[in-house]
């Protein structure tokens, strides 16, 4: 499969050119955040406070890494299950967030918000966190250090591999890919 090279931040034109099933290699900045950091980001917005990072055009990676061994940039850093971030995602997309990397199904509300705000949902390979960590060249905590592995991270990545699952046009790799191989209706 031919991979598309992406650089962050993403423009609307770049997002429009992505389709479910595309393999992409991402270089630039990824923000790392999961459950607890999402809760704080959305609570800050509700209080009318600025976010600790400008998310316009950016991609959030749902990850809670293992601790780095001495000399390592980061430990194992694979995707966590995205559905837990669904309640917060439309609010962040409204702030200009253009992409998310995780694994697993998204809610209907998120899929509709992706079309509305012209953004994409990507999946990285679960269980391959040690391998994915090799693409992370720098890692720093931007906010919420008290949350440990759930803090808000800023990563600099090179050729980070991901697959487009939900594009801005309504395409859905999970639905389309599974349909091809489905041989039975569950009882």
């Amino acid at each position: 499969m031919h991979a598309k090279h992406l650089n962050t931040p993403l423009s609307d034109e770049t997002v429009a050119g992505l389709h479910a099933g595309d393999l992409v290699l991402i270089s630039g900045v990824l923000y790392g955040a999961r459950d607890a950091a999402h809760k704080r980001l959305v609570e800050a917005l509700e209080r009318g406070e600025p976010l600790p990072a400008d998310l316009r055009g950016q991609i959030i990676y749902y990850v809670g890494p293992t601790p780095a061994r001495p000399g390592q940039v980061i430990g194992s850093a694979g995707p966590t299950t995205s559905v837990r971030m669904d309640p917060y995602t439309p609010t962040l997309l409204a702030q200009g967030l253009k992409g998310m990397i995780g694994k697993g199904y998204r809610s209907k509300a998120v899929r509709e918000a992706l079309r509305h705000h012209r953004a994409v949902y990507l999946a990285a390979t679960g269980g391959a966190g040690a391998l994915l960590a090799r693409c992370i060249k720098r890692a720093e905590i931007v906010a919420y250090p008290d949350l440990g592995p759930e803090a808000l991270f800023r990563f600099e990545v090179e050729a980070f591999p991901a697959i487009v699952v939900n594009d801005a046009h309504g395409g859905d790799l999970y639905a389309e890919g599974q349909q091809v191989y489905r041989r039975a209706t569950p009882a």
Binding site: S76, L173, Y174, P186
Partner: protein, 216 residues
């Protein structure tokens, strides 16, 4: 492998003739978890309280199951259980009339709902029988077996094979992108149960399946 280095689930087989000195067995297991997760740079994923959610900082406590067995040996099996697949696991109290058909539907529905979330290709642990509290443990115990190790009872061995084929016909595939291999194995563990009950549980295991064993 995966950054989710899990809850430390430990199955202990304690020989009746073993005498442990100097402290309690669960404390010793927790100390091992503390050292292993800290010195091995593994992730600390345990919170002390389910609603107030403060991390314990050292991945303790472990979940410890102890069986008393004959002999003077102590055997430990460690299953570091990731949360993504665990969250897609389910249990139900079916009725005897639901039978094999009901079980089959429940297993397929659980794997289908889990989809990509459980990081397929998965291993499906199925518990049947016992009571509400023990059926989940049966399902988890099934995850300790090796891939392809069939149930000793030919009836259940055949059911495992049939369920594996049915699960793979769902087409979910590796990471849910579509494919012919959704599960690497389906394993059943059973226990006697009440005349009115048919408890069933499905414990999902992601492809990053890690089991360690030691005998002392």
């Amino acid at each position: 492998m995966c950054q989710d280095t899990g809850t430390a689930v430990v199955f202990v087989e304690l020989g009746q003739d073993v005498h442990i000195e100097g402290g309690l067995l669960p404390d010793a297991v927790d100390e091992g978890v503390r050292q292993g997760y800290t010195e091995g740079y593994l992730r600390k994923s345990m919170v002390a309280d389910p609603l107030r959610r403060k991390n314990t900082g050292d991945n303790t406590p472990a979940v410890v199951h102890v069986d008393l067995v004959a002999g003077d040996r102590l055997r430990l099996a460690l299953l570091p259980k990731g949360g993504g697949a665990e969250n897609m696991s389910r249990a139900a109290m079916l009725t005897p009339a639901d039978g094999e058909r009901g079980l089959r539907a429940f297993v397929l529905e659980t794997v289908e709902r889990a989809g990509p979330n459980a990081c397929p290709p998965v291993i499906v642990g199925v518990g049947i029988g016992g009571t509400f509290d023990t059926v989940g443990q049966l399902a988890k115990r099934a995850l300790l077996r090796r891939v392809g190790e069939r149930h000793p009872d030919p009836y259940y061995a055949a059911l495992e094979e049939e369920l594996l084929a049915a699960v793979n016909a769902l087409g979910i595939g590796p990471m849910g992108y579509g494919g012919t291999v959704t599960a690497l194995d389906v394993r059943i563990e059973t226990a006697p149960c009440h005349i009115v009950s048919l408890p069933v549980a499905v414990n999902m295991q992601c492809h990053a399946a890690r089991v360690g064993r030691v005998e002392l």
